[in-house]
Each structure stands twice: as C-alpha cells, then as structure tokens.
Homo-oligomer: 173 residues x 2
C-alpha cells in the first residue's frame, strides 16, 4: 500500500473553511501523514533535511492549499525553493522520480470565473507546478479543485467536497 504525504499550506488553517472541512476523516486512512507547513515554519525557516526525509518516506505527495493570487501561499514557494535542491530533486540525482505529485487547491471564485474562450485557465494557473513536477520527474496527477469559497458554502456543499476529497485520496493509494 502506498504512503501519502499531505503538505498542507494554509497561513490561517484554524479559521479556514474548505481546507479544514475536506480533511475530515483523512486521518482515518492508514499510511497518510498531514504535514502542516505554516504550523511548523511560521518564520519561514524550513528544515530542509526533515522535509526531504518526509518526501523520501512517501510515494504520493499532495500539496493542499487555498489559492492566493492565482498560486499557492508563499511558504509553499519557499519550500520548493529550498527543499528541491540540486543533487536531491534533480541534477546528479532525481530522488523523487516516479512519485506522484498532486495539487489540492481551494479557490475563492466560482468555476465559471476560471473559464474563458473555451480555455480552462486553471490549467494555465497551475502550469508552474506542472513544470516543477516534470523537472524533477514526478508524475503530475489530475488536481483536486474546489470553487466558490468566497461566496460562503452550504454545509451540503462542504460535505460533498469532503466526500470527493476522500474519494480522490482513496484512488491515490
């Protein structure tokens, strides 16, 4: 059975709605680790070796975050900049090669706001993540995307997102 790491990146997780809701029940899966990066590194001083070890111990890496300015909150970028070192993630060695790379993103806006001229803007917005996964020879999987957090979501919709996320994760094992 595969091992899954969720790198959770939310500057204010305790007050989050969607990101907290969709994680309900996740810890009941075996072989899953939730790694709350803002909790560990509020000062941005990332323990590179510790994060690399976590990556090596797992087969599937999910980056879960709310969409901030059409990308991830900044700590995830700092994590990429520091943790994906040459000789570890690329160059002499590609130690993450073949592991799955997944994005789970919660958007404030509605789905229709991310579609223009028959083009799915979300694919473009996530392109830097896709490029990163290719560069380090990981397998980029279909992302898990939720919408409309801004307008306030009903309990029913939140429960639906939660169920869909549990299903999404189940398929990754």
């Amino acid at each position: 059975m595969k091992k899954i790491l969720i790198n959770l990146v939310h500057p204010n997780f305790d007050e989050s709605i969607v990101n907290k809701k969709i994680l309900e029940g996740v810890s009941e899966f075996k072989n899953i680790t939730i790694n709350n990066l803002y909790l560990k590194y509020p000062d941005f001083k990332i323990d590179i070796k510790k994060e690399q070890d976590l990556l090596l111990e797992n087969d599937v890496i999910i980056f879960q975050f709310p969409m901030y300015w059409f990308s991830s909150p900044s700590l995830l970028k700092e994590w990429f900049d520091l943790v994906l070192e040459p000789g570890f993630a690329y160059g002499k060695d590609y130690k993450l090669k073949g592991k799955d790379f997944c994005i789970a993103v919660s958007c404030g806006a509605e789905k229709k706001d991310y579609v223009s001229d028959n083009e799915n803007m979300m694919t473009n917005l996530l392109y830097p993540f896709y490029g990163t996964s290719l560069y380090i020879q990981m397998n980029y999987k279909e992302p898990f995307i939720t919408y409309s957090a801004e307008k306030g979501l009903s309990e029913e919709t939140l429960n639906k997102y939660n169920q869909e996320y549990l299903e999404y994760i189940k398929k990754l094992f």
Copy 2:
C-alpha cells in the same frame, strides 16, 4: 514624465550575473527607484504600509527576478500576499488601477526549452502574474525575458541584455 519602481527580487543579488548586469546604467534615469526586497526583508517581515506607499508614488511597477521553479522567488509571493490588501488593491478601492505592471525575468534555461508544440510556455508560466494584474486593474505589459543564464553567458550577450533592458525601460516612461 512617469515614475518607475523596480521591485527587485533576488535572494542572492550580489552573486547574480544577469540581474545585476541588466541594471547597469538604470540609476542614471531620472524618476526611477530600485527597491531591493530581499535586502530589506531577509526575514520576510514586509513593511506593508511602506510598500503600498511606494506603489502609490509610482506609475510603472517592474517586478525583476530570476526564474525559480517556473515562478518568482518566494519573497515576491509573500509581497503579493501581504501588500495587495483588500481595500487597497481591490474590493472597495483599486488604488493601483491604471498603473503599468511589468515582469522582467531571467531564465536559466534556453529559449527553445520554453517552447513546445508551437506553444509559448512562458505565457502560461507568467499567467498567475497576468491574472493578478487583471484582478487589481493594472495594465499588464509585454514582459522582458532573458534566457540561458545557466550555461554561462558571454560578456557580449550580457551587454546586449543590458542594452535591451535599458531600451525596454525607456519605452515605459
């Protein structure tokens, strides 16, 4: 005459090759300010008010950085996350409306590496910046892009990049 702000975002500017070279002569323009963000905020503790004031004082904002993992170094993302507040950049007020939004990015790889199937990947990679500019009603200008920093550039090429950047800036005034 317009006023230009260059938000320079390089974690290691002193050892940079391209980013340092293309700035040669820039300070001889009048009405231009170079704002070295990593020098001011090595600890990521951004002075939001000071940065907002700088934006208000200028007509053209250039974000100059090396490409890190197909995006900007993380401090620029933190800058976006903190400085572009609701009520300042969007929402009740759009205080940056109509100002020019420019990207000046130096890529390690060669130009051909950023083209696939007749598609310019660079446009996709910069899409989060484009989206941000639209959201805050700034004018997104054609970006200034240099390539091939990784393979080592000749003095001649570096001088050419420098001249092209000076020309690029001149047109923005």
